[in-house]
Symmetry: C2
Subunit: 384 residues, 2 copies
């Protein structure tokens, strides 16, 4: 056995209902997996011993919604929006133009920079979407770049209809469900669509995209009900999507569909923060029994944050979540949104991905907003 014993843990938040929270805890990591979790007094011995001196440990964050393959910056659009301009999905076209013009090396460097920035803030699993290329070539190379960083890659050809198809949206839909899908499927695990009644893809188009993706072996996830009420949540539930994301504007029927289907509702408060929009009501979803995940939605237009701790603080301040619920949503919730049971939790057999906080409790992630509290990140059993 080549194991590491971690002791001195003030509070271990395992996010596992059976293990719960453990005060004065210890962890044993065996190579890339958790081997043992429990009270420090009962800890087995190991080859290596690390004392974390009273710090809190939580599972590595699982950021299940991030648009990282892009070029350019939309800080001027952001500043204009803060001065009163409303957000419209059309701003995506700005990033599409810059992304098409960028070389693969530049795109790879941007993803590497953002993934490293995420890791410094405790994220150990990240989903990465395409969606800023919107040609067969540019979507395929976007996903090839993403695949270099994560297995959780998502085909999002149906992000918006690009300008050159403005007068032929049906033609673009044929491209997305045909040659573009064929070129992208080898690099993707998931298929996604931006489903909104206006400015994006309607229910029929969204169904066509998700069905074609499923036929190509991809699993569905959906952007829905961000800008207003719409059919996306119920469509996602009907098609057995692992997650439906945004969920800002929900009807009672939407909530009921989430309960019945078990589809995760992934909330992205960074987007509401950066578009000055009303936040989704997490309390309502939790009260109904829906599984809630938190993710950054990192993208250059509407949520250019990589910080899961920031999203946790917003979830508590703005969406009625307790600190425990928010940390659960940022770890086990994100794992559920990616249909993963090996991350987002610290129990024997799970991946040894964890965050050591410079704080005695995970509550401090909300209690100390904006403060970089991540002292150490362990990935696959080793500090990174």
């Amino acid at each position: 056995m080549n194991a590491t014993l971690l002791t001195g843990i003030g509070l271990l938040a395992t996010q596992d209902p059976e293990l719960g929270e453990i005060e004065n805890a210890a962890l044993v990591l065996d190579e890339a997996r958790v081997a043992w979790v429990g009270s420090a007094r009962q800890a087995p011995s190991a080859d290596l011993h690390v004392n974390l001196v009273g710090r809190c440990v939580v599972p590595g964050f699982v950021d299940s919604h991030a648009h990282l393959v892009f070029a350019g910056d939309r800080s001027a659009e952001f500043a204009a929006r803060m001065a009163g301009m409303p957000y419209a999905a059309g701003g995506i076209a700005t990033t599409v133009e810059a992304t098409r013009a960028a070389g693969d090396e530049q795109l790879t460097a941007t993803v590497a920079r953002l993934v490293e920035e995420m890791r410094r803030q405790g994220t150990t699993t990240v989903e990465i979407k395409g969606g800023y290329g919107l040609t067969v070539h540019d979507e395929a190379r976007s996903l090839a770049v993403a695949r270099g960083f994560t297995t959780e890659t998502t085909y999002l050809g149906a992000h918006v209809v690009p300008p050159e198809y403005a007068s032929d949206p049906d033609g673009y839909l044929r491209l997305v469900t045909g040659p573009m899908l064929a070129a992208c499927a080898p690099y993707a695990r998931w298929v996604d669509v931006f489903c909104e009644p206006r400015g994006a893809f309607d229910a029929d188009a969204s169904r066509a995209v998700l069905s074609a993706g499923a036929a190509a072996g991809l699993r569905p996830r959906v952007h829905a009900n961000q800008l207003g009420p719409g059919p996306g949540v119920q469509l996602a539930c009907e098609l057995g999507a692992a997650s439906v994301d945004h969920c800002t504007h929900l009807s009672a029927a939407d909530v009921a569909a989430l309960v019945d289907s078990g589809t995760v509702a992934t909330l992205l408060p960074g987007a509401e923060f950066s578009t000055r929009s009303p936040y989704p009501d997490a309390r309502r979803l939790l009260a109904a029994g829906v599984t809630v995940a938190l993710a950054t939605d990192c993208n250059p237009g509407t949520s250019y944050t990589t910080s899961m701790p920031f999203c946790i603080a917003l979830a508590v301040r703005e969406m009625g979540m307790t600190p425990a619920e928010a940390v659960h949503a940022a770890t086990a919730g994100g794992a559920a949104a990616l249909d993963r049971d090996d991350v987002g939790v610290l129990r024997p057999g799970a991946r040894a991905d964890l965050v050591v906080l410079d704080a005695p409790s995970y509550v401090h992630l909300a209690y100390r907003p904006g403060v970089p509290l991540v002292a150490q990140v362990w990935k696959d059993g080793h500090p990174v």
Copy 2:
């Protein structure tokens, strides 16, 4: 000359109306002062040359309102408040009890930890208040500890009436304006009072505290109009306070008094974030011509953040400030609130305190909320 030339600066935000923002800028630092500011093409030579490769530089942040001398933690109170309990100033008593019980070494270690945490986030000047001792001995030692870290120390014996004086508030006022002031004045530059109609000090008591402090050589600053409308803002203006802090609930007469007096309105959005309260209206103050500062209000009860970047992001999202106004308020505004002209600005003669951002523009402080963007901090002409 023992000077350092900084080049490769993408955008220099000088916060000086005459210099403004400079693209492709250079800075020369001579020992602890700025010697030259301008376009990189006109930069003089220097002994040492540092290339900042396209990053943005802003003045070091000036955090003009922080309660750092305390012991204990109120994360449980925070979690309860997020679950629906309203904030009441009485929670301060919890921290008073822990602070009195703590040794000087423990208090010093806490201040050192928080000042270092602030510095990592770009704060190069900080004001530190007492106010959690509330005995002659405990206030004096609190300020002695604070004086080890900053010249901007503030006597806040009039934070709340401590439990042992609950039935004799006049007796406590005599203590604060008499023996406690005498013991604290040698360690303090400023005198402050928590002026609220209920739960703290009313107008007459506040006037007595500030007048006694002034007679002992201390300059006034005031906590006012946080929890509701009150007399504090107009009192601060009347007495020529450098700053009146919180300003969440303002009448038209309050705004007019700020305009007439030139007293700085220091806004503390971390407190509204962490107490789930409505934010002050910075736009209204700026439109009237009031000088606005931003500060963290770092304290264990109502705003346990040390992050000026977080406060800038909140100011833009929640208080109607542009990114430029928010950065100005966090630098030159904070300096004005401390009546300092040597910090918060980058111009010849000013202190060589600056922040190098891992971003091309200061706009990113609001555009990328929660992300630790501070790449380097220079204090007194040297990286720290």
